[in-house]
Assembly symmetry: C2
């Protein structure tokens, strides 16, 4: 489950909380859960999150100011990923669509725009909450 470079204690604590979570968690929600393990300040959480994001094992959901563990077994970096976020139950589906990526890439080539990072977040209601 753990990614390549051995995580430090703080990173591992934060990562485990996210892996166990069923919904995205804010940094402060994470903090609440790791306080009992010695982490006391928001910055300690944010630093761990930064590292985990750079490893590609955690994603930030911009529209929620929250974080999720990567859903894919093979967490590759710099790939284009999209999220469908249910506003009722907060469940998040992560998916990767090569064709969406291809079309956005195409636009970027045309505009001569060098992309670092792409956020695709769809807010709505999931199947389970519709019925």
């Amino acid at each position: 489950m753990s990614p390549q470079p051995r995580l430090t204690k703080n990173q591992d604590l934060v990562f485990r909380v996210l892996v166990d979570a069923e919904t995205p968690l804010s940094a402060y929600m994470i903090l609440d859960q790791v306080r009992e393990f010695g982490i006391r300040a928001p910055l300690q959480v944010y630093r761990a999150l930064d590292k985990l994001q750079s490893l590609g094992v955690v994603h930030r959901l911009e529209s929620l100011n929250a974080f999720v563990a990567c859903a894919r077994a093979d967490c590759q970096r710099h790939e284009m990923v999209a999220f469908a976020i249910c506003d009722k139950c907060r469940h998040v589906s992560e998916f990767s669509d090569a064709q969406v990526k291809a079309y956005l890439d195409n636009w970027m080539v045309g505009a001569q725009f060098l992309a670092n990072q792409t956020a695709i977040e769809i807010r709505g209601t999931c199947r389970a909450c519709t019925r």
Copy 2:
């Protein structure tokens, strides 16, 4: 320039600031610019922004916690819009790609996900800042 329903004073003030801006502005940056016209509290700005967003004439950039006036002349259509945000000069290019929309729609149909709102934000470096 102004949209259908006549804007109220506060809405108009906020909208004008965004139209004149060359980069996305946070609610508090907007507040700084409308203080001289009598707006004093963040909530007054947020309320105006909410209304302008629902009219479709202002977009929120989730990854920046900031707002931009809609770049398109015909703002009425509430299509899927994407943003390319330059991290160097903060310039934002707004574009709409029917193909991307089609593929995301396709995914949503498959997953039986009812979408309300979609955010597509590409962070990187624009053409002008590359050279």
